[in-house]
């Protein structure tokens, strides 16, 4: 009976660990998506100064909040998003708005994918 209890405790631990990881990821990615939406809104309303401020804070926020991601996500996935986000303020400063819009769209798409990477869905399992 002791073995069965130990097994159940381990399974509970794993479930808790995975649940926590998914919760952290969903919460953080949602926050990032909202920030990316704000940048897009500012860009579309041609408020480029506000757009630059939001982009710079987005870079800092991503660096600060994605510290836990390498514990449960492939490092290459995080790095590629980080590289895209880091380029946003520089593109705005250089005045390359078309490229900025493209990079922002790419960034939003990557974030929406990131939200699905670790979710326990059938698509991910298969």
């Amino acid at each position: 009976m002791k073995r069965i209890f130990v097994a159940l405790i381990i399974l509970l631990l794993v479930t808790a660990m995975c649940g926590t990881a998914i919760a952290i990821q969903t919460q953080t990615v949602n926050k990032f998506s909202v920030m990316a939406d704000d940048i897009k809104e500012a860009f579309e309303s041609q408020d480029y100064e506000q757009c630059l401020v939001l982009s710079e804070s987005f870079v800092d926020e991503f660096k600060a909040k994605s510290r836990l991601f390498p514990l449960f996500m492939r490092h290459s996935d995080i790095t590629s998003i980080e590289e895209t986000i880091a380029a946003l303020p520089a593109l705005l400063k250089a005045g390359d708005r078309h490229y900025f819009a493209a990079e922002l769209a790419k960034c939003r798409s990557m974030l929406s994918n990131l939200a699905l990477y670790e979710s326990p869905s059938l698509d991910n399992i298969l």
């Binding site: 009976m1 069965i4 097994a7 159940l8 399974l11 631990l13 514990l71």
Partner: protein, 205 residues
């Protein structure tokens, strides 16, 4: 799995052992992969192994389903070809296994059972079995378990306790052999105070 060796593992246990070693290697080989990718499946496999072994102890049906069951391939001296075919075992395999148990003539064999771990158990015909003391009506004294009392000059108090011996007996033995504990390479004894002593420098039995 306890203290069982690789050859004694049940098929399911062997598969889990191989899977765990494989999973542990993945995050170690790839730097960009989180450790949790290895730890989580390993923990799940360990938990399942514990759960299965626990259930196998409690539920006989589960034990049969996971661990498999023994199969008789020689039944009362007759080779069961059908059972051997189901195990994909040839006569050569059977003879090889028998030879490994020092049985060279299949006519001596009454029963052969293939255990779930792949090993065979053999029961010889009554006429081919070794004669035992009971067969001869001999009364052999029970000396208990022979234990190492001194090994390379080091005393084992546990050995003394198991053999129900004490320091007085040990001092007597050492005095008889004119040596101290440090001079002894090996001292073995049993419950009946029968001992075998080898001094250092004469390390042959």
């Amino acid at each position: 799995m306890g203290k069982r060796q690789l050859g004694e593992l049940q098929p399911a246990e062997l598969v889990i052992t191989l899977l765990i070693s494989d999973l542990a290697a993945v995050p170690m080989q790839e730097n960009g992969m989180p450790l949790l990718y290895g730890i989580v499946p390993i923990m799940i496999l360990v938990a399942l192994e514990l759960l299965f072994s626990g259930l196998m102890l409690k539920v006989a049906l589960f034990q049969r389903f996971i661990g498999g069951k023994s199969k008789i391939i020689v039944d009362d001296g007759k080779v069961d070809i059908k059972a051997m075919k189901s195990l994909r075992m040839t006569m050569e395999d059977l003879m090889e296994s028998l030879r490994q148990q020092s049985i060279f003539d299949i006519r001596d064999v009454q029963y052969v059972i293939v255990e779930p771990n792949g090993k065979i158990s053999v029961l010889l015909k009554p006429g081919s079995r070794q004669v035992t003391c009971n067969d001869m009506n001999l009364n052999i004294p029970d000396n208990g378990l022979p234990m190492i009392i001194i090994s390379d000059g080091k005393l084992s108090q546990w050995g003394l306790n198991v053999c129900e011996l004490d320091d007085n007996w040990l001092n007597l033995v050492l005095k008889e052999n004119s040596c101290s504990i440090k001079d002894v390479f090996l001292l073995m004894a049993d419950r009946n105070r029968t001992y075998h002593l080898i001094k250092k420098g004469q390390q042959t039995a």
